[in-house]
């Protein structure tokens, strides 16, 4: 039973890649977009010349490295989130969700499959960003440690939980997917993606502590700085572990509630 559900995850991922490759142009432009975005930010940063930015001193002071890590972390997180919520929404709009549910496939299996596909997609963008960073700006990620990977893994779980919550709400409220860019922009503001939160007005800075993704981005950065004490990184890992467990549990609950409501309303398919 368990093995079957695990095998089904592979079936979903295979299907998603097959479909993705039929959109070759969209697929390539998505990655080009990531690279162009990075170039814009780096060129923007070059206006500061070689001047060390005081706000970035805790992160090594280099703007390009700061931007690259921010882009990588954020791109990774939101490719998972985007994949889980948009895939669920499009399955419902296309009408394929009903056919899948008729096969007795568990909704958690479907969500895990979306998450893993999002992770793979995110890792592909990371690969591209690291390559561009290394080739064009000589930024190396040689400082990455096992903690960096643990933080990325936990962040993926956190986003899976967040995606499940969003997925459940999508089944429930239907059009909530349209709010994704707003949520993304607000979250980005408080996560230190393109600027450290210390540059925010003082009264806004505490909000970052309540944004779960802050711990992913900040943890990722800290894990790449060799001088960061191990205890500080472990603190980020513990926070992320607790948050991901909590988000996954809330996500599963929201998902089952949403599904139950859609079955009561007859709204598993919507247009």
């Amino acid at each position: 039973m368990m093995t079957d559900e695990l095998k089904k995850i592979g079936v979903f991922i295979k299907r998603d890649f097959r479909i993705l490759f039929t959109y070759r142009l969209a697929f390539s432009t998505a990655f080009l977009g990531i690279v162009f975005n990075l170039f814009y930010l780096v060129l923007f940063g070059s206006m500061f010349g070689s001047r060390e930015l005081s706000a970035l001193t805790p992160y090594g002071g280099d703007f390009i490295s700061y931007i690259l890590v921010g882009s990588i972390g954020w791109g990774f997180l939101w490719s998972i989130m985007g994949m889980t919520s948009s895939s669920l929404r499009s399955e419902m709009m296309m009408g394929t969700m009903e056919s899948i549910l008729l096969t007795s496939t568990k909704i958690s299996t479907i969500m895990i499959a979306y998450t893993i596909f999002g992770c793979i997609f995110g890792l592909l963008s990371i690969g591209i960003l690291i390559s561009v960073g290394f080739l064009c700006f000589s930024v190396s990620f040689g400082n990455a440690t096992i903690y960096t990977f643990i933080i990325m893994f936990l962040s993926a779980l956190l986003m899976m939980g967040f995606g499940m919550i969003f997925g459940g709400l999508t089944i429930w409220v239907k059009n909530i997917g349209q709010a994704t860019p707003l949520i993304q922009n607000i979250a980005m503001f408080f996560c230190g993606v393109y600027f450290p939160i210390t540059v925010l007005p003082e009264y806004l800075q505490p909000i970052a502590k309540y944004v779960p993704f802050y711990y992913s981005i900040e943890g990722l950065r800290k894990s790449l700085i060799p001088t960061t004490p191990e205890s500080e990184i472990i603190r980020y890992i513990i926070v992320l572990l607790v948050l991901s467990i909590a988000f996954i549990l809330i996500g599963l609950y929201t998902l089952y509630k949403g599904l139950n409501k859609a079955k009561k309303d007859g709204s598993l398919v919507f247009y």
Binding site: K8, G95, T96
Partner: protein, 306 residues
């Protein structure tokens, strides 16, 4: 066997004009018993509750009241076992396929989701059965509507389910494909229990052993097409085409339009004898004379009015 007891479903919808929520009773205390191997037709106008009933039986919509069992399994409590016994074509079922996958890839995907990990033989068999061999590797976005219908039916048959729910299976396809599918269902699905929902009465009359007329969520009539005709229509019609219609004006229950005389009678033999007498006595030239049984359409209209 499928048993439905007191099944009820009410939806709440927003009335945008009046800006308030209103309740719509989609299925209203339905009771049905469908026997093994039977093709059971569910007919009714659009919005009568056919699709909601089928979706509830398919575990896709939860009922408000009542119970349903499929092959002895409770549809709500044993949903997974019920699904394993079902093949379903419901709603806009061609949309329920992946248009950017090939026919074969779609079949393989859904076979795997049904835990059929070694399904190649079954897939080939279905592709052959539905005549999709030549297009099996083409993206289904390039398929015609008829081909998509065939593929959707093939997906529903992957696990060779003993029970099939077909909701408007022939809607939107050309007569040739429709003919092919009907023959295929007649020839190949003899051992299956089928619920066939449609508003096409000719298709229902041709395909179904028994039918239920559903209107406003209620079962209005139930029985075999012949039983229903007898129940609702205890007379037959005699139609005479002649230029001398005046000769028939004194007959009971007669209706004359242009050169067509329509007589309703419970005793066809005696009425025909009477007509023959009139024709001989008055030396009337009759172009055509025929008796008509009521059509299912007439039954349907009578049932809806009732």
């Amino acid at each position: 066997m499928i048993v439905i007891n007191n099944l009820t479903k009410t939806f709440t919808r927003k009335n945008k004009k009046e800006k308030k929520k209103e309740k719509i009773v989609a299925v209203d205390h339905i009771n049905l018993k469908i026997n093994k191997g039977e093709i059971f037709g569910l007919i009714g106008p659009n919005g009568a509750g056919k699709t909601t009933t089928i979706k509830m039986l398919s575990t896709l919509i939860l009922p408000d009241e009542g119970s349903m069992s499929v092959n002895g399994f409770d549809v709500v409590k044993d949903a997974e076992k019920v699904r394993n016994n079902l093949g379903v074509l419901a709603g806009e079922f061609t949309r329920a396929l992946y248009w950017r996958l090939s026919g074969k890839q779609n079949l393989k995907f859904f076979a795997n989701l049904r835990n059929m990990w070694d399904a190649d033989e079954r897939i080939d068999e279905l592709i052959e059965l539905f005549g999709l061999k030549e297009q099996e590797n083409e993206l289904i976005m390039k398929y015609s509507t008829g081909m998509k219908h065939k593929l959707a039916l093939a997906v529903a048959l992957l696990n060779d389910p003993p029970i099939l729910f077909l909701d408007e299976p022939l809607t939107g396809i050309d007569p040739v494909t429709s003919f092919q599918l009907k023959n295929l269902i007649k020839d190949e699905f003899q051992d299956k229990t089928i619920i066939w929902a449609s508003h096409n009465l000719y298709e229902i009359e041709e395909m179904c052993d028994r039918i239920a007329l559903i209107n406003d969520g209620k079962i209005v009539l139930e029985g075999s097409p012949e039983e229903l005709k007898k129940k609702l229509w205890d007379y037959e019609k005699i139609v005479i085409v002649t230029d001398n219609t005046d000769a028939f004006t004194n007959i009971n229950d007669v209706e004359i339009k242009n050169n067509v005389v329509e007589i309703k009678t419970k005793d066809v033999t005696n009425t025909l004898l009477g007509i023959t007498n009139i024709v001989q006595k008055k030396n009337i030239r009759v172009e055509e004379i025929k008796t008509l049984r009521p059509t299912l359409e007439e039954i349907f209209m009578a049932g809806v009015k009732k």
